[in-house]
């Protein structure tokens, strides 16, 4: 894969009436490790994908995918997308539909049938080849929709919520599939499941209210050593902030929003033993304050980071 940007947007925006779904997006994404696209509902993720694929025209700004505008004929077959809500044709076996899509990508009729069978095998649905869409479950249809993104050799694959609606075992299989293919093509994955993004992606773009909040490597976003994150039985009292700040090396205490039952304690990183001592002291302070804890994480997950960055008023 080349180092040239696969997606470049300049001043990109898309409005729906008075609502700005995408405000001003300036972005350059390079080929390579999978890229996550995250953000709360209404952040503009699906709109962004739709503009990249030419489903929607931008209201302002420009977008280039693989060096061309999205609908350019040179891009056909080189970009694949898992759309969130597109349906297959009723009454036609899924293998026939996949073969038709493969034919549109330049396969001969015979090769297209073989290609359709191959991608069905990839998503573990070879048995469903002769079935029409109305005979398949939602999860199976999702997998068929994923399968069509692997037809041929697209250089860029956009996956909008690839694991939503899948049972945990199947979701795990799909993630393994993405991992096994991410050396051959660049994935851009939009998902609310931030654990999936953290597991799969090398970098992440955080969108909020149509704007890019952050675009960085996942490793840079997720601090592993200097934060303790707690999931509590109840929202912690304000008074705990002062008690925890008094603990040695603690620099900042952050309470979650009401109802989140969350607490993050930031401390100065002075090596493993210092971290362990701080951890013990914080746990003792919580116990002394009678605060029940469900889970403690050393470090901060991507989910915590995204919640923090997209919290109203955080911009």
């Amino acid at each position: 894969m080349s180092d040239a940007p696969i997606i470049v947007t300049e001043g990109l925006g898309r409005d729906f009436g008075d609502k700005r779904a995408l405000d001003v997006i300036d972005l350059a994404l390079e080929a390579g490790a999978p890229i996550g696209l995250v953000g709360p509902n209404g952040a503009g993720k699906t709109t962004f994908f739709s503009v990249l694929c030419g489903f929607l025209r931008p209201t302002r700004g420009t977008v280039q995918v693989l060096g061309r505008p999205p609908l350019h004929r040179d891009v056909h077959g080189r970009v694949a997308i898992l759309p969130q809500d597109a349906a297959f044709v009723r009454g036609v076996p899924v293998q026939s539909q996949l073969a038709m899509l493969a034919e549109l990508q330049g396969f001969s009729a015979k090769a297209a049938r073989a290609e359709a069978a191959r991608v069905l095998q990839l998503v573990l649905l070879a048995d469903a080849a002769k079935k029409s869409p109305e005979m398949l479950s939602h999860g199976m249809l999702k997998r068929i929709a994923i399968a069509q993104t692997f037809l041929g050799a697209p250089e860029l694959v956009l996956l909008d919520e690839p694991t939503a609606g899948l049972d945990p075992a199947t979701a795990s299989e799909m993630k393994n599939l993405i991992r096994s293919l991410d050396k051959e093509r660049t994935f851009v994955i939009s998902s609310h499941n931030l654990q999936d993004i953290e597991e799969l992606c090398g970098s992440v773009v955080i969108l909020d209210r149509g704007k890019i909040v952050e675009h960085r490597k996942v490793a840079e976003l997720v601090s592993r050593t200097s934060i303790l994150t707690f999931r509590l039985e109840a929202d912690p009292p304000e008074a705990i902030v002062a008690k925890l700040t008094a603990v040695a090396l603690v620099t900042r205490v952050e309470l979650g929003r009401p109802g989140e039952r969350r607490l993050a304690v930031h401390f100065r990183d002075e090596g493993e033993s210092g971290g362990n001592k701080t951890q013990i002291a914080v746990l003792q302070a919580l116990t002394a304050a009678g605060i029940g804890m469900i889970e403690m994480t050393r470090g901060q997950s991507l989910q915590d980071k995204v919640i923090e960055m997209t919290r109203p008023g955080s911009a």
Binding site: L71, R73, A86, L101, E103
Partner: protein, 272 residues
């Protein structure tokens, strides 16, 4: 070259879907049953009766003198078939072609296509697919009508003339149905729903027909309104002379160009 291949693949899929879907089969069954019934009536002697001078008076009152002349001067079974078919072609063509890009847009199936083919290719392929379906239906009905006309014909010397006129009538009706298919390309792209496209197409056509009957327009206004839809060509098609019918066919192709262009303008700007 690539565009032609893409269109071929999409047309093949379109026809396969039509002939395997309940909606496509229902259209063909309805179309076949209707013409089976009409042709059985014509075979039973109704055609011959329509060609008599007595029936000519009624036909002139119902239609116009040209239609009465058509029934008397041309093989009457086929002429009667042409009259009935010309009246019902818009309805049948709408039924056959109401789903061109409507399902693609309504179910967002188009999102699987757009990363692989151009919008123009999708639009053209759907238009061609619907045109092929209506052409096949008109061709089968025309062949059946010609066979009926040959069966009821009692003059062996007329066989060649009946076959030639059967081919002519079938050709006219195929061409006459194409503007309706093109009109439905515009409506289906605008509505993005098969049911709504059919309702708007049939409803709009019916409302225009009723309005033209109720509002006594005269002069240029009457001419302009009558030519808003291809139905304005019908009087030219239903004449015994070849010239006006050929002019009507040329006019029909003009409508095809206009409606297809408008349909494309709507489709290319639609969100997928």
């Amino acid at each position: 070259m690539r565009a032609r291949r893409h269109i071929g693949v999409l047309v093949k899929q379109d026809l396969r879907y039509t002939f395997s879907s309940a909606r496509g089969l229902l259209f063909l069954i309805f179309f076949g049953m209707f013409w089976g019934w009409v042709l059985s009536k014509l075979a039973g002697g109704l055609g011959e009766q329509l060609g008599t001078p007595q029936a000519g008076f009624l036909v002139t009152w119902l239609f116009d003198a040209n239609v009465a002349r058509l029934l008397q001067e041309r093989p009457v079974t086929l002429a009667a078939y042409l009259v009935v078919a010309a009246m019902l072609t818009p309805l049948f063509a709408m039924l056959a072609s109401c789903d061109q890009t409507a399902t693609d847009l309504g179910t967002r199936h188009i999102r699987f296509l757009i990363p692989r083919v151009g919008r123009a290719e999708i639009f053209v392929a759907r238009l061609i697919g619907a045109s092929i379906l209506t052409t096949i239906a008109q061709l089968l009905a025309g062949i059946a009508a010609t066979i009926v006309a040959l069966v009821v014909n009692k003059d062996p010397g007329q066989t060649g003339a009946i076959v030639a006129y059967g081919a002519q009538v079938t050709g006219f009706l195929i061409i006459y149905s194409l503007p309706i298919v093109a009109l439905m390309s515009l409506i289906s792209a605008a509505m993005a729903s098969v049911g709504l496209a059919l309702l708007v197409g049939v409803g709009g056509y019916a409302v225009l027909g009723v309005a033209m009957g109720l509002v006594p327009l005269k002069g240029a206004a009457a001419t302009i309104v009558s030519f808003l839809v291809p139905g304005g060509l019908k009087p030219y098609l239903l004449q015994p002379e070849l010239g006006p019918a050929l002019a009507a066919c040329a006019g029909a192709l003009g409508y095809v160009a206009l409606y297809s262009f408008l349909g494309w303008q709507v489709f290319r700007k639609r969100n997928a």
